[in-house]
């Protein structure tokens, strides 16, 4: 949905305008952004459209309004117009054909493809064939990178989204202890709060403990939280909680993932267990961080960025335990957005 109370008038146009300024600065006629149902955050960020099925391209000309080129039926164009800033909607079975026609209408000029390496090769090759001689360049991850610095309305939406994810995790812990029942309660809480998409991972960590992890999307913004439910004392739970607290303490502007890993290593060393800790920007949560490059992984946290901290411990029986929360980086510290008063301890 597109609610002016959440996304003020002019906000989406401002985001598109920033991209268009970049295009004009680079002498590009348009940018094309590829999305599928798994990875559509850039398109959602610019237009509020929800790519709920299949694939789509967003075409952003250097001047003028963006256009959505999609495989989704024309029958749902009214819904797309009602829930996004888009007016130009084009549907067809072949995205390269749609893009070729669109670019052809624009006239001459270079075209930039956002995250070109991730585009299906076939679409790129068909587009090159449809536009012989046209300069087609890789724009890299400039939209995703821009999303790592949330505007004030975005920060507010992220706080709302994270609060919802936190409540979903807590609701999972409150009631009958079977994992499907936990998943059902988390799903209900998140959906009733307005989440568009929810992934609930409930899995036994050991006979003594379970993990409940929720990753949910609210108005296109993803946040995550995970809790370990101890059924009785475990040797690893204490060190894991201590390590998680150390990781939280390490979060802050300018901090790298390496520093967070160093903070965790000491408390977990006595367990002798394998572990992984990750700090994932909210813009990368929809893909579980899977679209990040090696350079992304080494980058320091930005001030006011919103990130998920995730600590996973490998247990002797082959299962794992996960603790996670979403934080807003504020100078040398980070505020947790997924915990409330009665959920103060990571265990």
């Amino acid at each position: 949905m597109l609610d002016p109370a959440e996304i003020p008038p002019g906000e989406l146009e401002r985001r598109v305008g920033e991209l268009q300024s970049h295009l004009r600065g680079q002498g590009l006629a348009a940018a094309l952004i590829y999305a599928d149902v798994y990875h559509s955050g850039d398109i959602s960020f610019l237009t509020n459209i929800c790519v709920y099925w299949n694939e789509a391209l967003l075409a952003v000309p250097a001047d003028g309004g963006p256009a959505l080129l999609s495989k989704i039926s024309r029958r749902v164009h009214p819904w797309m117009r009602a829930t996004s800033s888009l007016e130009d909607l084009r549907s067809g079975p072949n995205l390269a054909d749609l893009a070729g026609h669109y670019v052809g209408e624009l006239g001459p000029g270079s075209i930039g493809l956002v995250e070109m390496d991730w585009w299906p090769a076939q679409i790129v090759e068909d587009l090159q064939a449809a536009l012989p001689g046209r300069d087609i360049r890789d724009l890299g991850d400039l939209v995703r990178r821009r999303r790592r610095s949330p505007s004030a309305p975005e920060a507010e939406l992220l706080r709302t989204a994270a609060g919802l994810t936190g409540r979903a995790v807590i609701s999972a812990l409150d009631g009958p202890p079977r994992n499907p029942q936990r998943a059902g309660r988390a799903e209900l809480t998140a959906r009733l709060g307005g989440a568009e998409d929810v992934s609930v991972y409930c899995h036994p960590s050991t006979p003594e403990a379970d993990t409940v992890e929720v990753v949910s999307e609210y108005r296109g913004y993803w946040t995550s939280a995970a809790r370990v439910v101890s059924k009785s004392g475990t040797a690893w739970a204490g060190p894991m909680a201590e390590a998680y607290r150390a990781a939280v303490s390490a979060l802050g502007s300018g901090v790298t993932g390496e520093r967070v890993r160093a903070a965790v290593a000491g408390p977990l060393a006595p367990t002798g267990l394998g572990w992984r800790v990750d700090v994932i920007d909210h813009a990368d949560l929809e893909t579980d961080g899977g679209y990040r490059s090696a350079a992304d992984l080494g980058e320091p946290l930005g001030d006011a960025s919103v990130v998920a901290l995730r600590l996973e411990l490998d247990l002797p029986d082959g299962s794992s335990a996960v603790l996670a929360d979403t934080f807003e980086v504020d100078g040398d510290t980070a505020h947790c957005l997924t915990r409330n008063g009665h959920d103060a301890d990571p265990e």
Binding site: P120, V124, R185, V200
Partner: protein
């Protein structure tokens, strides 16, 4: 019951031999993991993964993160699993080169979705090997389900039926669309579903298709339509139903009767050996006979049903132009969902297992125009 992995692999290799392929490389982007799951048995979370099966020798898997590596190991079907970082797939190419030192023909599933960086790297590193699409080949392999697969889909069918009951129970004037979906999704998860693909529409004769749910509040007289598709242990089953808040109008009743007749006609046409087009034609003939043939076209509808299994929308598409032969133990849903002027977009459909003499239903849900009290 557990899956006979050897029989599954042999089925793929038989298809490879017919297609003169020396190996199959399954590519899984984040939203199309069905072939990699078919080969590895693993539930994956990562942005990409690959699974490799040579005509002779052991399979291998290449995944994008440690969690997926563990998932493949735990599934136990493919012991050789490695983590690769996008887009560095040199390990994949090295394994293929080792098996096919003189080059060969490698079928790539979802070649159409393979990222430019990965495909470019494979083309460079594989030299003389020819890469061809094997998407259709694997779709055809997966079309026919094993006894174990049918058991999983039947479980998903049971959850489907329960999900629809929860859906109807949530219908009342004033409730918002997403609140109905919340109650339904929660019940599906409580019953063990790990995922669900669901579309929704509410309102009157103006409704032309389904979308994700929104904040619209239901009103007396609304027809509420849904297609819900829970997944258990990788396998999806789908149900399509419509319900009316309060007493159905004459148009809604007539619409249901039309769609119910079309579903039955489609089901009556189902048996091993017929084509997807035969089933679609049987459904569409009902619309044509009743003067609504125009509404069976792509202007108003997508397909008259489809297969499902490890993906919620598999081949065959039930279209009159589709010549795919339905084999015994294929799973399809017959759903003539479309718009008509009678009551707007109407959805009704049942999934079935194709048998030699007809079909076995996968749902226990009655096929009727459901109503909810107002």
């Amino acid at each position: 019951m557990s899956e006979d992995v050897g029989a599954r692999v042999q089925r793929i290799r038989d298809a490879m031999e017919q297609a003169q392929l020396d190996a199959v490389l399954a590519y899984a982007p984040g939203w199309r993991r069905e072939n990699v799951r078919y080969l590895t048995g693993a539930a994956l979370r990562g942005a990409f993964a690959l699974a490799y099966l040579p005509a002779r020798g052991r399979a291998a898997a290449f995944v994008g993160n440690v969690a997926d590596e563990q998932a493949v190991r735990q599934a136990g079907w493919v012991p050789d699993v490695r983590v690769v970082a996008f887009p560095d797939v040199r390990d994949v190419a090295a394994r293929i080169r080792a098996d096919l030192p003189g080059g060969g023909r490698v079928g790539v599933t979802q070649l159409e979705l393979m990222p430019r960086a990965i495909l470019g790297s494979l083309r460079r590193d594989l030299g003389r090997a020819e890469l061809v699409s094997a998407t259709r080949l694997m779709d055809m392999v997966r079309l026919v389900k094993s006894a174990w697969e049918l058991e999983q889909i039947r479980r998903a069918g049971v959850v489907c039926s329960a999900g629809w009951e929860a859906f109807v129970a949530a219908l009342r004037p004033g409730v918002r669309e997403y609140e109905v979906v919340a109650e339904c999704e929660a019940e599906l998860k409580r019953l063990g579903a790990q995922d669900n693909f669901m579309l929704f529409a509410s309102g009157g004769g103006e409704v032309r298709g389904m979308t994700p749910p929104g904040p619209r509040q239901l009103r007396p007289g609304d027809m509420v339509r849904t297609e819900l598709t829970p997944q258990l242990d990788g396998y999806y089953a789908q149900i399509c139903r419509s319900a009316v808040l309060g007493e159905p109008s004459e148009g809604q009743r007539r619409s249901f009767e039309l769609f119910n007749e079309a579903v039955q006609a489609g089901l009556d046409a189902v048996r091993a050996g017929v084509t997807a087009g035969d089933v679609a034609r049987a459904e569409n003939d009902v619309f044509r006979r009743n003067g609504y043939g125009e509404y069976t076209t792509s202007r108003y509808t997508r397909v008259r049903g489809h297969g499902h299994g490890l993906h919620p929308d598999e081949i065959p598409a039930l279209l009159e132009s589709d010549d795919t032969v339905l084999e015994e133990n294929a799973v399809i849903i017959v759903h003539p969902n479309t718009f008509t002027p009678l009551a707007g977009y109407h959805v009704l459909g049942d999934p079935v297992v194709v048998t030699r003499g007809g079909y076995q239903p996968l749902l226990t849900t009655e096929r009727k125009l459901f109503t909810a009290p107002v």
